[in-house]
Symmetry: C2
């Protein structure tokens, strides 16, 4: 079937009776060749089943048109949305992003980054895996390849990051709970080695301060950022002598876990215990009860990150400013007033 040796530009040249240079020009859509010649060449290209060898081309050309996207957890619908946002703008720019998953594993991340660099990517958009070492991107920066962090950032890095306003989102959500009359508040899930965690917890504490919630009435339970983690958090919290009546969760997955654990105890989120999520994934709206959550416009952040990347490539720089995305609290059913309080502003 397949002509064994793959066709090259020279085969086309022979077929069309022109020189390889002419073929190359046609391939690049140069206006210098006579239209009839171009047609002839294009026909030959079709006939021999030619496929362009970008590797060979990149040997001469400055840089490629592929952009790598390294994501820490493809399973999280949240990241899929981020990817979709990026793709929208890359597609318009005629770039095909290649996505790779690190499964939250720094070693795998190292491999993936190496592979992408070897492939000669023009830029890298990364949501770094937990536990990424500070030096992980040193070599990439040294090579002059632009990198943008999306959603997550590294503690001390000078790489530009595109992320939502985590602190403000958490602050908004916490205020909302306090206004509903809750006085014993919890922050569930996540772990302190993530910058995002520190930001969200920071917002939570900021609101607690502002409303003079005593330290003794703040419960902070670290845990996995998954349903399972959320379930564990609730169990730990309710086992305390003076348990909280409301919780802000590190993300929606944790919140779903909390709702599940509540139901398992015969309690209902919203009426017996208030829960607020973070990220506002598509599922939040449809959950039962519908989950109050901090919306972060994930796809929008993806688009933003892609734009920044494109601009960095164009201006051949490796630096750019951080972008903080606006957030908003979407109030739904899961965050009802405190039953024992008269302060709640519920109807």
């Amino acid at each position: 079937m397949a002509s064994r040796a793959k066709a090259t530009i020279l085969d086309i040249a022979r077929e069309a009776g022109v020189s390889k240079s002419t073929v190359s020009l046609v391939l690049q859509g140069s206006g210098l060749i006579r239209p009839e010649t171009a047609v002839k060449v294009r026909k030959a290209i079709e006939d021999v089943g030619y496929v362009y060898n970008r590797g060979a081309a990149n040997l001469r050309k400055a840089h490629s048109n592929v952009i790598g996207m390294v994501i820490n957890d493809l399973t999280n619908p949240f990241f899929a949305e981020l990817a979709v946002g990026m793709e929208r703008v890359f597609q318009a720019a005629g770039v095909v992003p290649f996505i790779a998953n690190t499964a939250e594993n720094p070693v795998r991340q190292e491999e993936v980054l190496k592979s992408m660099m070897e492939q000669g990517v023009a830029g890298l958009i990364v949501s770094p895996a937990r536990g990424t070492t500070p030096g992980a991107f040193r070599r990439i920066e040294a090579a002059g390849v632009p990198v943008v962090f999306a959603m997550r950032r590294l503690p001390e890095s000078r790489i530009p990051a595109i992320a939502p306003d985590n602190r403000r989102g958490a602050c908004l959500a916490t205020e909302h709970l306090i206004r509903k009359g809750h006085r014993r508040l919890a922050f569930f899930g996540g772990s302190s080695d993530l910058v995002v965690y520190q930001e969200r917890l920071g917002g939570f504490l900021e609101a607690c301060e502002a409303f003079a919630i005593p330290v003794a009435d703040r419960t902070i339970v670290e845990g996995q950022t998954s349903r399972k983690g959320g379930m564990a958090c609730l169990d730990t919290a309710l086992a305390m002598p003076e348990p909280p009546t409301a919780a802000l969760c590190f993300n929606d997955a944790v919140a779903f876990g909390v709702i599940l654990a509540l139901r398992k105890r015969g309690l209902e989120a919203g009426t017996d215990f208030a829960v607020v999520g973070f990220d506002d994934v598509a599922e939040a709206e449809h959950y039962s009860p519908a989950l109050t959550s901090v919306a972060v416009d994930t796809a929008g952040l993806g688009e933003r990150a892609a734009h920044v990347m494109l601009k960095m490539i164009q201006s051949r720089t490796t630096r750019a400013e951080d972008h903080i995305g606006a957030v908003s609290l979407v109030v739904r059913e899961s965050s009802g007033p405190d039953r024992n309080s008269q302060v709640g502003d519920a109807a």
Copy 2:
């Protein structure tokens, strides 16, 4: 910062005081070089911040170590799981798969495939976009690059496919509903241009035949394969003179939509209307009510597809056998007995 011109094998050679051939050998881990020399070279590699240029290498070597994974909808958690399964086996084989999303768009798919081919992928695992034209893979096959379809297949194609036993799954699920006493059955969602749809609908009809459900009592409503589509399907079905009492849905997303639409009408899935999904995504178990669904072992299929791919590459063939994955029905709360029937085998 970065030494502008990127380091090549020759720079390393100069630095280490050896020839480029020696460096190349070290890079490939050849046992032919003296250990001390290797150490010296490796040090030089580190010093100059070298990054391997796979494009240049592929110019000489037969083929690359990258495998492309082209997926029609990254947003569907189902496909993320498929990707995760594949990655597991590729990682073990030292291969980094590059994922690209086609967003169910054949034109985008064309671009993506072209880009991957140009990049010199060793093989392609594809879940084709709806509406893929029969000839879309002709050129790729002609180029001798192995292709495997995952989850979906094309009507007449000779490309090997790895997919679950859709017919059997649908048949099992339908039998389950009939055994629960349901006699007026519906099949919700999907559209007939998909092979998967035909298979699943085929299983549904097969079970209907086997249990002598009259044609008049079978309702088939095509629709989008999303929550929204599922909601629309239910509305259409309940508007009929003799509405069904149970539905097998094309996939879980449709099923979730049906459950939502039921609730909107004050009905509860499981007690008022039975609904069964397909794919058994992680969410199914945690939904309320928990969704009865056909489990397809997505990650397992991903692994299988990856193995087939690896084998094809190794034996440099472009052909392989189809693999049909086993399915099983996971019964949960959403598929209760028909209230008006005495035949139900419920406790």
